[in-house]
């Protein structure tokens, strides 16, 4: 667990981070979102003591971070940065094995772990182990970056705009993979990004920062339903907010059991998002869809009327 309470960071006269408090429970994914210069990266770097905080307490697993030796602390926290920071004179396997070697694992253990991670991140060992960073595409290099961060199996993973420099298609693919990885590994993740869609997609807990302060924090749905001010609202995409919220909602949460009417023409799997369902309705000029399970067996029905009715109810309950 990571806990920041009333943390500030001053560089001379300038206050980069101003009295922020936030809590990331073990196994949760927290995204820090904001425009550049809002203090989100500084906040991240204070957690592994790349930057020492000026005021307040940062607690890791029940202990103030000042208690830990900074070098040992960093070896148990994974860290991923935008331009990967891979060592250009080391091949992929050696880059990934860095932290285990610093921790003096045996050569056999390091090799085993490196191969395990390359498997996990979809980098065939035979093809990639001996390649050098300059021979990799942006997406491959960042996979290596993530593998390196995970090498010593840290509980905590800090990611500083890891996908910021990738093309949209690769970025989306890596986001999906990270989500899958997180569902398996349950790391405590703090993820910095300026891309709200990325944050909405990945985070359990969303923290919006501006000028060194936290403007609002909460679950992605809570923020979408009730942005604190116009800044958060604009970050959340203004008019697009409705669709973003729909993207976070599963079809199965809104379906009803099969009605007495004829089944609708179009079918949608239950674990698709409401956004995909709405898109399908628009495409097929239909206000009803048949919901199917993974074996394509109909299990329910989704109707536009009901979606809108429930949204009204949600809004009502959120206001209370």
């Amino acid at each position: 667990m990571i806990e920041l309470s009333h943390v500030s960071k001053r560089f001379g006269e300038e206050t980069a981070v101003d009295d922020i408090s936030l809590r990331v429970p073990k196994g949760k994914f927290c995204a820090l979102v904001g425009t550049s210069g809002c203090g989100k990266s500084t906040t991240l770097r204070m957690i592994n003591r790349l930057i020492e905080h000026s005021e307040g307490d940062i607690i890791l697993d029940g202990q103030a971070i000042e208690v830990y030796d900074p070098v040992k602390l960093r070896r148990r926290i994974g860290y991923v940065i935008q331009h990967t920071g891979l060592f250009p004179h080391w091949n992929v396997a050696r880059n990934i094995g860095l932290v285990p070697r610093l921790l003096k694992w045996s050569a056999a253990d390091v090799q085993g772990r490196v191969e395990e991670l390359m498997d996990l991140l979809g980098l065939p060992v035979g093809e990639f182990a001996h390649k050098y960073p300059h021979q990799l595409s942006g997406g491959q290099a960042q996979r290596v970056g993530v593998a390196r961060a995970l090498a010593a199996d840290p509980d905590i993973l800090l990611m500083d705009e890891p996908f910021g420099a990738l093309d949209p298609i690769t970025r989306e693919k890596l986001q999906d993979e990270l989500a899958k990885l997180q569902a398996r590994l349950h790391k405590t993740v703090v993820f910095v990004t300026h891309d709200m869609d990325e944050a909405l997609k990945l985070a359990d807990h969303l923290v919006v920062m501006r000028e060194g302060r936290i403007v609002q924090q909460g679950s992605p749905l809570a923020l979408l339903q009730q942005p604190a001010d116009s800044f958060v609202e604009s970050l959340l995409g203004g008019l697009e907010r409705g669709l973003k919220q729909a993207a976070l909602t599963r079809v199965k949460d809104h379906m009803t059991s099969m009605g007495p009417t004829l089944p609708a023409q179009s079918r949608i799997p239950a674990d698709f998002s409401l956004r995909q369902a709405l898109s399908m309705m628009l495409r097929d000029h239909s206000d009803r869809l048949t919901v199917v399970d993974q074996h394509d067996v109909p299990i329910g029905e989704l109707s536009l009327r009901r979606i809108i009715k429930e949204a009204q109810l949600d809004k009502g309950s959120a206001r209370e």
Binding site: R74, F87, L98
Partner: protein, 257 residues
């Protein structure tokens, strides 16, 4: 192989060891068999009594020359690289401009002037020339060490730091290997320049390959001058081509793009 570009054959080149071998062989030939070229030197100086420098064997002069350059290079590398490392650390960063200026000053000061100033203090012999060479050769090494270390990508250094490498580990496993090609280039420049400059030592009694040149100038015997200059040039070419070999090897080992 998915990428056909990566299997393209590199242009055919002469083998790496060819030039060191050629220049080294010519150098060896010149120091052991200078007298065989007597007719040639006779043609340069038809009237001289003696056309082959014989006050000392050429291989002895070569040995002394190498010793002087070697000692100066060793000290310069140790001092220059250490200074470059020290001022690029957080603690030493205040001295960065000072060290840069001192090194430049060393090279703007003519070696002849250094010799003139050093002799009264250190006496005649080998010591003044070593001091002069050290001052003269310091700049390329310091400058390249600074350039090489400062060129290491900040992201790479941040990553090293964040992964839990100590500053010493970062320096040894990341910064120095990445800066090595640039530092080596500085050492190459320094040593090659000093091979020629060391000849000045002959004027203050440090016997080396400068002897035939000085003696030739004093006695008006151009054949001597040519013999000294030729041997020094061959030595410089040999050493320079060895550095070239070393640099290529280093580059391929670091596999920089």
């Amino acid at each position: 192989m998915s990428n056909s570009l990566s299997v393209a054959q590199p242009r055919k080149r002469a083998p790496l060891w060819l030039w060191p071998l050629v220049w080294g062989a010519l150098l060896l030939l010149s120091v052991v068999a200078m007298s065989a070229a007597e007719p040639l030197f006779r043609w340069i100086e038809p009237d001289a009594r003696q056309v082959i420098y014989d006050r000392a064997d050429f291989y002895v002069l070569l040995g002394r020359h190498l010793l002087v350059v070697g000692i100066a290079a060793l000290v310069t590398v140790v001092v220059g690289v250490s200074a470059g490392i020290a001022v690029t650390r957080e603690r030493g960063s205040d001295f960065l401009p000072l060290v840069g200026q001192l090194a430049s000053l060393g090279q703007t000061f003519p070696p002849v002037a250094v010799l003139a100033l050093a002799v009264p203090v250190l006496g005649f012999g080998t010591l003044p020339i070593i001091v002069a060479l050290m001052l003269y050769g310091m700049l390329p090494i310091v400058r390249n060490t600074l350039a090489g270390l400062q060129a290491v990508d900040i992201d790479i250094k941040t990553a090293a730091h964040a992964m839990g490498m100590t500053p010493t580990q970062t320096l040894r496993y990341v910064e120095l290997p990445l800066a090595a090609p640039v530092i080596l280039a500085g050492i190459r420049t320094s040593v090659t320049i000093n091979i020629a400059t060391a000849a000045l030592g002959a004027t203050v009694g440090a016997s080396n390959l400068g002897d035939p040149i000085i003696s030739g100038i004093v006695n008006g015997n151009m054949a001597y001058v040519v013999q000294g200059a030729l041997t020094i040039a061959l030595l410089a070419l040999t050493v320079d081509s060895l550095f070239e070999l070393l640099q290529r090897q280093l580059r391929s080992r670091l596999s920089a793009p």
